[in-house]
């Protein structure tokens, strides 16, 4: 099985993955805006929202695949960012700080949805009829099936690197882990996927 051209090579070589194409402005601009935002400059806050929101939106959309969910999470993230904006320190990279808060919101949202789903299942047991969940898109199903063999942490890293187009450093900052740990998770994820698909092909499955 070839290993050329994929994320695996980028990760192994310690390079930025080829998919990281979404950065809108260099980090230093975002950091200058953050300093002014902390000083109470509304123009800077507004520019920051315009600049960072598309990236954060993709970060949420990469996992939820629902536009409405991603919009809600984005709004919630900005409210949290606004509340804890003093925790970013001038001189530090700003993007990992944004992503760490976004990830916190996403994890919180996931837990909330799991609780709601559990509650709904309990209700379904006693209800006569219940609404069916909206069908997932083909694309979402395809990705979910592809990533099914991975652990939650491996899936998250692969989604951030490949679907959200984040760099290794950004993923490390967002997941509160080291770059080495991110590389290791991505490496394991690819190894697992290769193994799964080679078994599937031997068994006559596509």
């Amino acid at each position: 099985m070839t290993t050329s051209g994929g994320l695996y090579d980028d990760v192994r070589a310690g390079k930025q993955p080829s998919g990281a194409i979404h950065r809108m402005q260099p980090d230093d601009n975002i950091e200058k805006l953050m300093v002014r935002y902390q000083q109470g400059d509304f123009a800077a806050a507004s520019a920051l929202i315009d600049c960072v929101s598309p990236q954060l939106y993709r970060f949420f959309a990469a996992q939820s695949f629902s536009r409405a969910d991603a919009d809600d999470l984005l709004q919630e993230t900005w409210l949290r960012i606004h509340k804890v904006r003093h925790t970013w320190r001038p001189g530090e990279p700003a993007l990992p700080w944004f992503y760490a808060i976004a990830r916190h919101i996403r994890v919180d949202h996931y837990r909330k949805s799991v609780r709601t789903a559990t509650g709904e299942r309990r209700l379904e047991a006693i209800a006569v009829s219940h609404p069916t969940p909206p069908p997932a898109s083909d694309q979402a199903e395809q990705v979910a099936a592809l990533l099914a063999p991975l652990s939650a942490a491996e899936r998250e890293v692969l989604e951030m690197l490949k679907i959200a187009g984040m760099s290794l450093e950004e993923v490390a900052g967002a997941t509160s882990s080291s770059v080495g740990s991110v590389k290791q998770k991505a490496h394991r994820a690819y190894k697992k996927l290769r193994k799964t698909f080679s078994v599937g092909q031997k068994g006559g499955r596509p």
Partner: protein, 233 residues
């Protein structure tokens, strides 16, 4: 399926859409209404030094109240080995806690690995320093030491929380665990300065146990706090 094909499927799942303009307008409107200058957090080293001083002060104050009997009984070799190890472990835990309350902090080495190494180093130093393998009243002398350590961990944890109250832990339970570990190290400091029971089993089990028990209590408190906040919302 080849890796390139896996990449293709993942790339195809990218959502090129931007957020809705209404969402951004709503966010901008909310922020405009409550925008005022804020003072950013001080550099991480200030917090780390502060946490170290708090923990060391609690350990010294606790031992001053109970007596420096353990310190007096130790040989200079034991003192030179145990207290610097505790100080280094305290610094590692303080630094890990600061990283836990500042979102997006850079970690060159995994926090768990560092804390694990600190624990192993402390156990190794205890095993090397205390060679009395005689065991007497293991539980009846051990429980008071464990409780003394935990009792002193409480003020260390409270003052640390006061110091870090402006931070924001993206993983509150993990931050609670690390805060508990740091407070537990302060508790172990009190025990090493005060306790005169140098039996290897006593020190290795009951003194060391203060750290994970305190860490678990810290994580539990953080978990309860998160749940209460969620219910209040």
């Amino acid at each position: 399926m080849k890796e390139v094909e896996i990449d293709e499927v993942l790339k195809a799942a990218r959502t090129p859409n931007a957020p809705r303009p209404e969402t951004l307008q709503r966010v901008t409107g909310i922020i405009e209404g409550s925008l005022r200058p804020v003072r950013p957090l001080p550099p991480a080293w200030i917090f780390t030094t502060g946490l170290f001083l708090v923990s060391a002060s609690v350990a010294l104050a606790g031992a001053a109240r109970a007596g420096f009997d353990g310190l007096e009984k130790m040989t200079p070799w034991e003192r030179g080995l145990i207290f610097p190890t505790l100080a280094i472990y305290m610094t590692i835990a303080a630094n890990a806690l600061v990283k836990a309350i500042i979102p997006g902090s850079r970690r060159r080495i995994s926090t768990d690995l560092l804390l694990g190494l600190g624990t192993v180093a402390l156990i190794a130093v205890f095993a090397f320093s205390f060679r009395d393998y005689h065991v007497e009243h293991f539980v009846s002398t051990g429980i008071p030491c464990l409780l003394t350590g935990l009792f002193h961990a409480i003020p260390a944890a409270l003052v640390s929380w006061l110091l870090l109250r402006r931070g924001f832990a993206v993983r509150p339970v993990s931050a609670g665990w690390i805060a508990g570990l740091l407070a537990g190290i302060a508790g172990v400091g009190v025990l090493e300065l005060h306790c005169v029971n140098f039996e290897a089993a006593h020190v290795l089990v009951w003194h060391t146990a203060v750290i994970p028990v305190s860490g678990a209590l810290g994580a539990l408190c953080a978990g309860v706090w998160v749940r209460l906040r969620r219910l209040a919302r």
